[in-house]
């Protein structure tokens, strides 16, 4: 076809690379490239707000130190009959989950920020899939929280945490934590889409911060009053903590692993389509 010939004859003053580069826009290669650009953006946001990084690492570490050194002595004796282990070994898996959950909740603030400022319009005016913007936040959250978790584990090892896990068990524990972070991140995306202001979205992070208190994170649910006990046994955080604890310190896991997977996958299956629909609605009006 001589169309190409004609094109070469034109006196196009616009940069050739811009013209040529902007043409093909679909296909897996560009999808991956777009995702990478937006994940980089998400990571930059994390690195540019060291205060939130410090909060999401320092807060769990302080809680851990407080529970181990301040309450630990008293708690250890009180829970001996149900959890006959060193308290530091009991509490660290709980703190890991608290770190990951709290860190993931920050995603809600990031999403609300995007939606409430004009920046989402800029992305929408580009020839890319809009949901990649959300994907950028999700992947950045995964990276951020696995990093924060590693830091917390490092400090835990310094204060006497002695995991008994094999390489395989470590891998499984990391897998469980990743699944948990993914689940919490998507729930955060939903809250971020619902919230009208970043302040509103930050309320969600506090809710998430307190969820582990009424679980098996700090004390075995058996030691709680019956109403709390019932809630603690049947909320998603407990089976995930029990799974991670079992993998890392060798306590019995029982059916916690299956329950943990069921909770995470169940919530993801529920939350992802709702978030998707809400995102579409918020971006087309």
């Amino acid at each position: 076809m001589n169309a190409t010939l004609i094109h070469h004859d034109t006196h196009d003053t616009r940069p050739e690379n811009a013209r040529a580069g902007s043409r093909p826009g679909t296909g897996a290669r560009w999808l991956a490239s777009d995702a990478l650009v937006l994940i980089t953006r998400g990571l930059r946001h994390t690195l540019r707000s060291p205060d939130s990084m410090i909060t999401s690492v320092a807060l769990p570490i302080m809680l851990m130190l407080m529970f181990v050194y301040v309450f630990g002595g008293a708690i250890e004796g009180g829970i001996e009959h149900v959890a006959p282990v060193a308290y530091v070994d009991y509490v660290v898996p709980g703190v890991i989950l608290l770190t990951a959950g709290f860190g993931a909740a920050i995603t809600a603030i990031n999403v609300t920020n995007d939606m409430s400022t004009g920046v989402i319009d800029r992305f929408r005016s580009l020839p890319i899939g809009n949901w990649i913007v959300v994907l950028g936040h999700v992947v950045a959250s995964l990276a951020r929280n696995l990093f924060a978790t590693a830091l917390v584990v490092g400090v835990a090892l310094l204060i006497g945490f002695r995991p008994t896990a094999s390489v395989l068990e470590w891998a499984a524990a990391i897998g469980a934590i990743t699944l948990f972070v993914l689940m919490m991140t998507w729930v955060s995306v939903l809250f971020g889409l619902i919230a009208k202001t970043p302040d509103g979205a930050s309320g969600f992070t506090f809710f998430v911060l307190f969820l582990p208190y009424v679980s098996s994170a700090f004390v075995p649910p058996e030691t709680m009053p019956s109403v709390l006990h019932g809630f603690a046994e049947h909320q998603p955080v407990t089976p995930i903590i029990e799974t991670v604890r079992g993998l890392l310190t060798g306590t019995p896991i029982g059916n916690s692993a299956w329950l943990a997977i069921a909770w995470c996958v169940g919530i993801l299956v529920l939350v992802m389509p709702i978030s998707g629909r809400l995102f579409r609605r918020r971006t087309t009006s």
Binding site: A3, D12, G21, R48, V119, D121
Partner: protein, 345 residues
């Protein structure tokens, strides 16, 4: 892809006066209220149309629909021949939009914003960087390039935002009130940039509340009110319809006002009985002299005399055929708009 090449090639070889931006019968309602009630627009390739109208007239809605950001209820629209409703990705590839609120990432630096957007337009890494450099230079943002955008002034943000929409060098640009809220110096700088775009052959649809801005920049002006285009023409044509300058006289007593009214006896006379003012259109110094001579025939004393150019308000009252509402508020607003424009110029 082959298609695109053919389209571009044909358009250049056989320059038809094909409209780069076309809309007909565009309708949009939010809940029960119609915001756009059949908007027709055509902007020829390489020209600039100013969409002039007050707040709530439907300017932003029109631009958001044409730039694929908002679905519409009826009518049809094409950008460079691509259907806005059916081919949104093609449309996004040939247009850029700069909104009323800067749509840039506050956390990232100016340079990072531009490179990121360049990458999302699928420029290579090196090409995106080079393009960002060029634009930072062009928009006088080199010194601030590596600072977080949250430290930018309003004018800088607006310039960065415009630069962002030019990354892929789109042939069509939408500018939604690009100078609203800017100080006169920033506004002037923005005007220079926009003039440069027109000179390079870009097709532009600009919305504005300022007659002055439309007058300064655009080839053609379309006036929008209540979701309909009520006038369309060159700025000169529009002004002609509104009349030229107006001479405004203030009086101390009702009797003086009445006497002056009788003495002038012309048809085009706006009388504000409460404020004791009247105004009439004057075509030039000769007509001013005629008016003053007519007043000299009767014993009236005017306390103030003012010559004012047509304002956006005048355009609207003339075009919509509505009676000019009396009262100070409107006139003050009208003058404020005119003054603001004059300051910038």
């Amino acid at each position: 892809m082959e298609n695109t090449v053919i389209r571009e090639g044909m358009a250049t070889v056989k320059p038809t006066r094909q409209a780069a931006i076309h809309a007909s019968g565009l309708r949009k309602s939010f809940k029960d209220s119609a915001v756009l009630d059949g908007v027709d627009l055509d902007v020829d390739t390489g020209t600039m149309l100013a969409l002039l109208g007050p707040n709530g007239a439907g300017k932003t809605t029109t631009v958001r629909i044409l730039s694929t950001l908002l679905p519409f209820d009826g009518g049809e629209a094409t950008i460079s021949g691509y259907d806005v409703a059916c081919e949104p990705d093609e449309v996004r590839r040939v247009m850029g939009i700069t909104g009323q609120y800067a749509t840039v990432d506050e956390v990232l630096t100016g340079r990072e914003n531009l490179v990121m957007i360049g990458r999302l337009y699928h420029l290579g890494k090196a090409a995106a960087r080079a393009r960002a450099d060029t634009l930072l230079h062009q928009f006088d943002l080199v010194d601030a390039a590596d600072r977080a955008v949250r430290t930018y002034s309003g004018g800088m943000r607006r310039r960065l935002d415009l630069a962002a929409s030019l990354i892929a060098d789109p042939p069509v640009i939408f500018l939604d009130e690009p100078t609203t809220g800017l100080d006169p110096r920033s506004r002037q700088a923005m005007w220079d940039v926009i003039r440069g775009l027109v000179a390079s052959g870009t097709t532009i649809l600009l919305t504005t509340q300022y007659l002055e801005e439309a007058d300064q920049l655009a080839d053609r002006v379309a006036v929008i009110d209540h979701g309909r285009i009520i006038a369309d023409g060159t700025a000169a044509e529009l002004k002609q319809r509104v009349g030229t300058e107006r001479l405004e006289l203030s009086f101390e007593h009702t009797a003086d006002l009445a006497a002056a009214r009788t003495a002038l006896g012309v048809e085009d006379l706006h009388v504000d009985e409460e404020a004791l003012r009247l105004s009439t259109a004057v075509g030039g110094p000769d007509e001013v002299r005629d008016v003053l001579n007519a007043l000299g025939q009767v014993p009236v004393r005017a306390t103030d005399l003012q010559l004012s150019r047509p304002t956006l308000d005048d355009v609207f009252f003339d075009l919509t055929g509505q009676a000019r509402p009396d009262g100070d508020g409107t006139r003050t607003t009208a003058r404020a708009v005119a003054t603001e424009g004059a300051d910038a110029a």
